[in-house]
Subunit: 370 residues, 2 copies
């Protein structure tokens, strides 16, 4: 079967080279007569992969020595809880900047654990796709709109909202430690880690399969974490043990290593950024060209380069569009069930050629039906 | 390279058929033009795999409808914390039965969260392999030795201790809900789920790759869990959402599905038990035959059928044995760093032929050096 043009939001398309290598080695890793999955996490073969993945990530993202890189489990959803468990002490409050559904989830978990302030909230009440109402987020706040508590334990951002498609294109200036959920914003371009105290990202967008989450955090920030919570939820436990305190998801980390090698061989994060901006420009270009027919709800300055969201003025054409796209080998274009419409996730592994096929398709579809 | 005779304790050998299928399908699952890793966890292809894995587990282990089957992350080590977070309320205490290192870790996390009683502790102070002292566990307690609190929130067992090699060959009778860490005791034989309120098992022994943990628990017990802890750590959250509340480790679950199919095709858990008992009998047989030369420290009635642990009277021969075993294609025989000596983990996927090679090797080695 020809390779699908996969626009899934996550788990998402992975670089073919990373998968091909995994396939070649699946039964026999490095002439060991065993799959990498069958190797002990304490053995030299696996440890070399583990350390290489961390080294490549440090190199590609330019992570300073003052930062730890951790491979954890439970996805970003678990970080929504363990972050305030560690860093939101009694008597303090944390600032959350709300720009979408994932931020709402982060706020919900944090509220159960401590005091939460909203430093900004760009959501507006809107009718939900499935009936009732939901909040609709079509932009991120400007710096001047942030109502920050200088004494906050931390300020939490979702730098790109995968569902709503609003993305920060600047790093807010804040006094408190800056914490970011970068799940769908990770490794698509160079970024300045030193602006953040703590970043985290579920792997299943730009890094690897699901079941792996990466934390990049300043060592001195990690040390401020509470010590009266379970050892497994203290970040220092994993930092001290090079993410080998308990058995890590070894195959996921192996595959992330393969993906990081592909990024490096493709030219690193600067090359990724060029490629990704070109894809996003092409896609928003066709939506803007047919602005009466397609509706891209996110404000221009907040448009996501990773998750392009749009609707169609004539809802009866939604299924027609999805059906024809599928026939043309494109999958994953249906919008999230909470917002409806369409979404094309165009992560690193989504090729410019696939995006060109989608762009031409949307152009032709609009011309035919407009 | 010929397939290694892999006696790793976990991550461990997986059935070749399960890996071969994964290799064949790695780039193109079910003619979708995508890897299973690239499929959305909300798509019909992945959901069919997810549901099949649960259905096969229910069928093979005879899990009653009154029980939920959950696929979670963070391994058994995370369960050590989330279990008391949910089920050890203020003012109550939980009984722990201590028969090895994993039980110690479970107790350590629980103590930070609530009151813990030891209903039994078979550990004795002993010199540690790396210097200093450690506790040595060479048996499980008899029913008559259990000092149970009938009002305990629950009674926690480690039914097989992977490091020390002591295994329960009976299910203790208790009044309180029985909770078991079955990580290295899971799916090697039929077992009566209805004796337990809650069982959990890291996948990386008998079920799949690391990064996946299975929970099998009575629905009414799960409902008693605290509601004032983070949503992600409430078991009811995952039960209500068929383990799809957040993105599950999709590839790990897919591979577990392949392993479960292999178990079914090989004759189910009854066939596994015959095969595993035969392997354990052969291995303990050769250790007993050379009882002066090899020392199997675990008491006969508590010997593990999964993790066979022994030492050698002449420590200078340890490296010789490991080196010769490696030349003969055997890996993973070094004992855990905390106890030293040797350990052969003989999970389902370790073939009787590999065990025969090991048995013959140990016999010849003893004859040569005794």
């Amino acid at each position: 079967m020809a390779r699908a043009k996969n626009f899934n939001a996550g788990p998402a398309a992975l670089p073919l080279e990373a998968l091909e290598r995994a396939q070649r080695e699946l039964l026999d890793y490095a002439q060991s007569g065993m799959s990498i999955m069958e190797h002990s996490h304490r053995g030299k073969e696996y440890e070399a992969v583990h350390d290489e993945a961390i080294r490549l990530l440090r190199e590609l993202a330019g992570i300073p020595d003052a930062y730890d890189v951790l491979f954890l489990q439970g996805g970003a959803s678990q970080q929504f809880a363990t972050l305030p468990m560690s860093f939101l002490p009694a008597g303090k409050s944390a600032d959350y900047v709300l720009t979408g559904v994932w931020g709402e989830k982060a706020v919900e978990e944090a509220k159960g654990l401590g005091q939460v302030r909203l430093a900004a909230n760009t959501g507006k009440e809107a009718p939900a796709a499935g009936g009732g109402s939901t909040r609709s987020y079509t932009r991120v706040p400007k710096q001047s709109e942030l109502e920050l508590d200088p004494a906050a334990a931390y300020v939490h951002l979702t730098t790109n909202e995968t569902i709503g498609g609003a993305q920060f294109h600047y790093v807010p200036e804040v006094k408190a430690p800056l914490v970011a959920d970068m799940s769908s914003d990770f490794l698509w371009k160079p970024f300045d880690v030193s602006k953040y105290a703590f970043c985290y990202a579920g792997a299943q967008k730009n890094l690897g399969p699901s079941g792996l989450v990466v934390v990049i955090a300043r060592k001195d920030f990690l040390e401020t974490g509470r010590k009266d919570i379970p050892k497994i939820f203290q970040y220092r436990t994993h930092a001290k043990n090079n993410s080998l305190y308990n058995t890590p998801p070894t195959f996921g980390i192996y595959l992330a290593r393969n993906v990081l090698l592909w990024i490096k061989e493709t030219g690193g994060l600067a090359a990724m950024e060029r490629r990704n901006r070109q894809k996003a420009d092409a896609l928003y270009g066709v939506l803007d060209k047919h602005a009466g027919f397609y509706v891209a709800p996110v404000e221009r300055a907040s448009r996501s380069t990773m998750n392009v969201v749009w609707t169609i003025g004539r809802p009866e054409l939604e299924e027609v569009l999805l059906g024809e796209a599928k026939k043309a080998g494109m999958v994953g274009l249906k919008g999230h069930r909470s917002v409806g419409g369409f979404r094309a996730s165009i992560y690193n592994a989504v090729s410019p050629e696939w995006v060109a096929v989608l762009t031409d398709f949307l152009d032709a579809f609009a011309k035919k039906h407009a």
